[in-house]
Amino acid sequence: MKVSTVRSDDSIPVIPMLECSGITMSFGGIPVLRGITFTLEPGTVTALAGENGAGKSTLMKIASGQYRPDDGEVRVRGQHLHSGNTQAAYSLGVAIVPQELASIPELMVYENLFIGRELRNNFGVLDRRSMIKAASGYLEDFGLDTDPKTRMGALPVGVRQIIEIIKATNRGARVLLLDEPTSAIAEREVARLARIVRSLRDQGVAILFTTHKMEEIRAMADRVVVLRDGKLVSDTPLADITDDGIVTAMIGRELDQLFPDRPESGADTVLEVDNVVIAQGSEPISFSVKRGEILGLAGLVGAGRTELIECIYGIRKPVSGTVRVSGTPLKAGAPLSSIARKLAIVPEDRKGAGAVLSLSVLDNATLPRIAAFSKFGIIQGRKRRETIGAIMKSMRLKSDGLDQHLENLSGGNQQKVVFGRWLTGQVDALLLDEPTRGVDVGARSEIYRIITELSSAGMAVVMASSDMPEILSLSHRAFVMRELGVVGELDRAQLDCPNVQDTIFRLASGQSAAPVKDTTP
């Protein structure tokens, strides 16, 4: 959509707040965005929808001047945005509230709000009293009853996020980019966020937010732009598109190809979780997973999926309960004994817990079973190179060789190393926590292939995921978790029901009639 250039001063055409034209970008030869063109009008809320790895966050970063696209242009109110310069974007009125919030946790709320443009009195000294007063006014305007003198870090993520929004709009932001604004906040906070977004819209702010959740699109947006695989596949007013239409646009025809066939699960039990209590007061969890079976763990952020996986593996000590692999109980809080019992894990936070980015592919892959590659503590160079080379080849790792450092690989390839390093020996039970987070679509399908191959080779798999299609297509059985407990179990037939997403969402958010404790404060 093109807007005619302003010719005379008395006719006031609607100048788009933000125009992206032909944005193209690739990382390490892999295209992430391919010719994206769209505009944001003042006083509108646009949802930027798409699956993980569709290119949403990259597009946000380009629109806010953080990344320089390989091709294409961003214009803010008609002016060219010099990319690679967030300050310039800011002064043009574009503000981004990133997924990882940029607030300073050690400073107080009002200090965060005024940082960089502090109020000073006549002596040039900080005028804290005025700042506090102004800050409490702003907070009130946005419906927060937070004391401006609270330490930022002490607040829940949802409140911090709103404070970031206040900060941005106070500084004259006319285009507000919210990257996954609801990924880490509670249900109640989502409603408040939606209210704030609408009130900003009514003040003429153009808002773009990324999401892959249908409810949020319905609750907040006027218009939805769908990205898939780096391409813009749909750009329509919300009223003109059905939920199914959005999902189809997001997932495309690829859903069938993305997921391989699910192999049959075996008969004998491998992993047993017996009355594990994750934290004081939470419900005990018991289940068992058979050879070749994939158990999915669904739930909202903070529901306890990661905690459960960590308890099973032994990074976290549960309050009580035992975990057994092939009948042998594991020692709680001792990863080394879990590895010896043929348990393997692919953690949620790849950079923080999965891989050592400063080490090579070879060294990362050696780490969990280092003893298998060494004699008297000395590493047997040839043997490990051969073994690991063969495994990485079967993983279809794309790298410049085994000596390449992990920090120079793409997210998907890093993940393949984190998977592959376990396969240098026998694995009976595999724990996966968000196995495709931050992984591009091409590599995702390969990771799905790896998961199903491993399970059909006889591993028991527990997979926590926020990606609904992943849970629905890969698992033989799925649990829904909430408040550190299991609130529902769905078998394969239930997972195939058309309204299963809704069921899972209800269970996860505590709106169902299932036996769930009332949690109103």
């Binding site: 050592v356 080490l359 000395i378």
Partner: protein
């Protein structure tokens, strides 16, 4: 979209120019070192002689041991500020033992090693078990060990030691003094350990990402403990060598050595954040510092100016390294 590459590609052959350029950039510190050597050799006729080379090695030896220990500690993301004081305490313990034990050489050796091990183990224990930041822990040990050094000598140096005490530093084997041989052995052994053993890989792993290493089954506490213990033992040996050279135990010996040791490690390309660095790098950094010391002495540069010049060269050298690393990676 699914461009599946079936094989792990072999790095493509690059043209000669790119290859040498890459090589030079990767070994930029060796290049810097050669330039400095060339400069001194041009300015002073006495610099490029076998005798002077030996002098440089002899001066480097006590630094080498603590710089090697420091390398391991820095690879885990820590720092050991106590090595200079631990040298002093170990030297005093050895001197005291030598004075009271007569001609027995094993006892002073044992005294120095045990003192170093004890100090290092305390550092290691506090860092690994109680999670006190290494900077604070070893800063405390710096003060404590220095105090102990003075306590042992009752505030004064220990003189009048049997001449046999000098044999640690002054015995020659194949024309090299014992400390130089010890330095060479230590470099070779540690380079092997860090490159080729389980232990070395684990040290790199916990420095690169401690949580990920633990999840992969590395017992990070024992590894952390060990690097401080090793650093302590090496400081103990280093203190013994220094005291033996002058056949005196001086409580202020080794003062400030920790800073030169850290400088050597950092010049050698290690990251203070951990996970990056090599034993070879430290060896080059060490020789660089000692070459500068020696060369400036020969050029009769006043001591205070030497300090100024050294400071500039250290920062410049690391600056060049950071630049080269950025170039090399792209």
């Amino acid at each position: 979209m699914n461009t599946t590459i079936e094989e792990i590609p072999v790095p493509q052959r690059r043209d000669w120019k790119e290859l040498t350029g890459g090589f030079l950039i990767r070994h930029i510190m060796v290049v810097v070192m050669l330039l400095i050597v060339a400069f001194f050799a041009y300015r002073s006729a006495r610099f490029a002689t076998p005798d002077n080379l030996t002098n440089i090695l002899i001066a480097a030896a006590p630094f080498a041991l603590i710089a090697l220990g420091q390398t391991l500690v820095i690879l885990t993301g820590g720092i050991d500020l106590s090595v200079g004081s631990v040298m002093a305490a170990s030297a005093m313990a050895a001197a005291w033992t030598a004075k009271n034990a007569g001609d027995n050489l094993m006892l002073p050796l044992l005294a120095a090693v045990v003192t170093g091990l004890l100090a290092g183990s305390i550092n290691g224990l506090i860092v690994s078990r109680f999670g006190v930041p290494p900077f604070i822990t070893t800063l405390g040990m710096l003060t404590l060990a220095s105090g102990i050094a003075y306590v042992i000598g009752d505030g004064a140096p220990i003189n009048g030691l049997p001449t046999s005490f000098g044999s640690f530093a002054n015995t020659q084997i194949l024309g090299l003094t014992f400390p130089v041989i010890l330095m060479i052995i230590a470099i070779l052994v540690l380079a092997f350990i860090m490159k080729r053993t389980n232990y070395g890989l684990r040290v790199y792993a916990i420095g690169g990402n401690r949580l990920a290493a633990e999840i992969a089954g590395v017992r990070s506490r024992s590894i952390l403990f060990s690097v401080y213990a090793i650093s302590g033992v090496l400081a103990g040996l280093s203190g013994l060598m220094l005291a033996s050279r002058v056949i005196t135990g001086a409580p202020n010996l080794g003062q400030g050595y920790e800073l030169d040791a850290i400088a050597a490690v950092v010049i050698g390309g290690a990251s203070l954040m951990g996970g990056r660095g090599t034993v070879w790098g430290t060896a080059v950094g060490l020789l660089l510092i000692q070459t500068i010391n020696n060369g400036l002495d020969l050029l009769l540069v006043p001591a205070y100016w030497q300090s100024v010049i050294k400071g500039v060269i250290i920062v410049a050298a690391v600056g060049v390294d950071v630049w080269a690393a950025r170039r090399g990676r792209r």
